[in-house]
Amino acid sequence: MRRRSGALGAGLVAIVIGAVSAASADPVEDKAALCGACHGQRGVPVSKDIPIIWGQQEGYLYLQLRDFKSGARSNEIMSRMVAGLERDDMLALAAFFAAKPWPDTGQPAASEADARAAKTTSASIGCPACHSDRFQGDGTVPRVAGQNEAYLAKTLADFRTGARANNPGMAAFVRATSEADLVALENYLAGL
């Protein structure tokens, strides 16, 4: 499964490299166009398990790029994408995407039962203490409101198994929460 998605990503990257061969004047925009192959040229990712990065918190975006490069966060495609990036490139890309508007993906609001369960879970483990008011994130903490539901599900599952290892605190909170409550939380956050 992982290998298949890696091959798909590589294909998309190749297409985009061709598409942006006529380089624009702004080197950040050139690099950002590559990102758009998966994360969406208008901010809506091409697949539901790929995160929205338009309008995401700048500090968070930078830290993830840094962690992909150092190997602290593991993802076959992203590791290749960031391999040639320097710190300044990553900072510029983070600022570029943070300044974009968050896209409307039209994900449905959670059911009343899921919303109720999600609010209870959130109050219990204290999500807003870091993810802030209405889950908008802050600085190095990501916005999770309106994020792609499949990506949220994959991320929380990866925290639970340890596949995502670049934030032990998040892993601890996820492991302290039942899988049923996490599903409700994913539905709720995606629909905000």
């Binding site: 109050a123 204290g126 807003p128 032990p168 605190g169 998040m170 892993a171 601890a172 302290a176």
Partner: protein, 376 residues
């Protein structure tokens, strides 16, 4: 912590007790920005005395043999032991000392990787203002595994000493729910108050599936500063009652990332509330206590005119009689009043001012107002 500017110096401290840092307090020259001194809140030898009880004599249920074995195997954990300083120091220009409290060890709940008392986490510390040299300390909870650390700022005031005579004292409101009264000379504990909130199963150790213990990890008393009425000998504190379970997990540190070593979870089925509490710091007795609908976080103000002001997460900003606790007035601010009120005078007229910005920790409604009232 916000900077404190005093006598030509800018004092700063760092947070980071949840991130495996080594905490510090520093003084810079206010004119040039040059570093004058640095004090590591975690000394090179953080082991201490292998204390088995907290400052009030409660058993901490430590496995000292296991900790000693961990120390022999892994060495002193001082470089990643945390010890953030959340709030400003109290400054005594008469003795040229500062007093502050140091926060929790890293990781919060997983103590196996940090053997020893974890000095000076969860402690009152005093330094020389001019040199940054250590003067004295008192550790409230050695080897804390509950995040019941010391975060509310220290207050300097005259208290009755052990001999019953007035002496310079220090007050600190703990997450434990106690108000601690210290001798300013040597940091020693003169007395501690009655518990302001329910304490249950203290200090049961965190477990893999979660152990219930009160207070929860927000306290007791969180960062909220106390206020004092020296004419009445009363300290005013705002409290939280927020039952939680404490879970421990084996986690490796990742530089710069949240590192708790487990999780604290609010128990959704249990009632939560807050208190406004007046403590007689010369006896340790609670003089009066008023229940609030929600756990309290922010701050409190006592005026010389006999009033106490504090706000709540539901937007209510209230005035109480400082001697009796009778509620005298309230105002709905439209967002959580979770900040310390202050008072000032202009042309002989007294004002009370407070921020209504809400609170992230307890998710109280956010706002964007600063509201001033007159005392006509």
């Amino acid at each position: 912590m916000a900077p404190t500017v005093v006598d030509g110096k800018v004092l700063i401290g760092t947070n980071g007790g949840e991130y495996g840092i080594r905490g510090f307090v520093r003084a810079y020259d206010a004119k040039t920005g040059k570093l004058i001194w640095n004090f590591d809140t975690i000394p090179d030898n953080s082991v201490g005395t292998w204390a088995t009880k907290d400052a009030t004599g409660n058993d901490l249920h430590r496995d000292i043999a296991a900790e000693k074995a961990a120390l022999a195997a892994g060495g002193d954990p001082f470089k990643t032991l945390g010890g953030g300083v959340w709030q400003n120091p109290a400054v005594d220009l008469e003795t040229r000392r500062i007093y502050f409290v140091v926060g929790n060890p890293s990781p919060d709940l997983y103590g196996a990787v940090r053997p020893g008392d974890n000095l000076y986490t969860d402690s009152l510390v005093s330094l020389d203002l001019d040199t940054g040299k250590y003067v004295c300390h008192l550790q409230y909870i050695p080897h804390d595994v509950w995040d019941l650390d010391a975060v509310s700022p220290v207050v300097i005031t005259t208290v009755l000493g052990r001999d019953g005579k007035p002496t310079k004292g220090l007050l600190h409101a703990g997450k434990t729910g106690f108000v601690y009264v210290h001798d300013a000379k040597d940091c020693s504990l003169i007395r501690y108050s009655e518990a302001m909130v329910p304490q249950e199963n203290m200090y049961t150790l965190p477990t893999k599936d979660g152990a219930r213990m009160l207070p929860g990890a927000n306290g007791g008393v969180e960062w909220s500063p106390m206020a004092v009425n020296p004419y009445l000998g009363l300290a005013y504190a705002i409290n939280l009652h927020q039952p939680m379970t404490y879970q421990v997990a084996t986690e490796s540190r990742v530089a710069g990332k949240l590192w708790l070593g487990g999780a604290f979870k609010v128990i959704p089925t249990e009632e939560q509330w807050g208190n406004v509490t007046a403590v007689d710091y010369n006896t340790g007795k609670i003089r009066w206590q008023v229940r609030t609908a929600q756990p309290m976080i922010g701050g409190i103000l006592a005026t010389a005119g006999g009033l106490v002001f504090t706000g709540e997460g539901n937007g209510l900003f209230k005035a109480y009689d400082s001697e009796s606790g009778a509620m005298l007035w309230s105002f709905q601010a439209g967002a959580g009043v979770n900040a310390p009120p202050s008072s000032y005078s202009v042309e002989g007229k007294q004002y009370i001012v407070v921020g209504a910005g809400g609170n992230a920790q307890l998710d109280y409604k956010r706002g964007n107002s600063i509201i001033a009232f007159t005392l006509d």
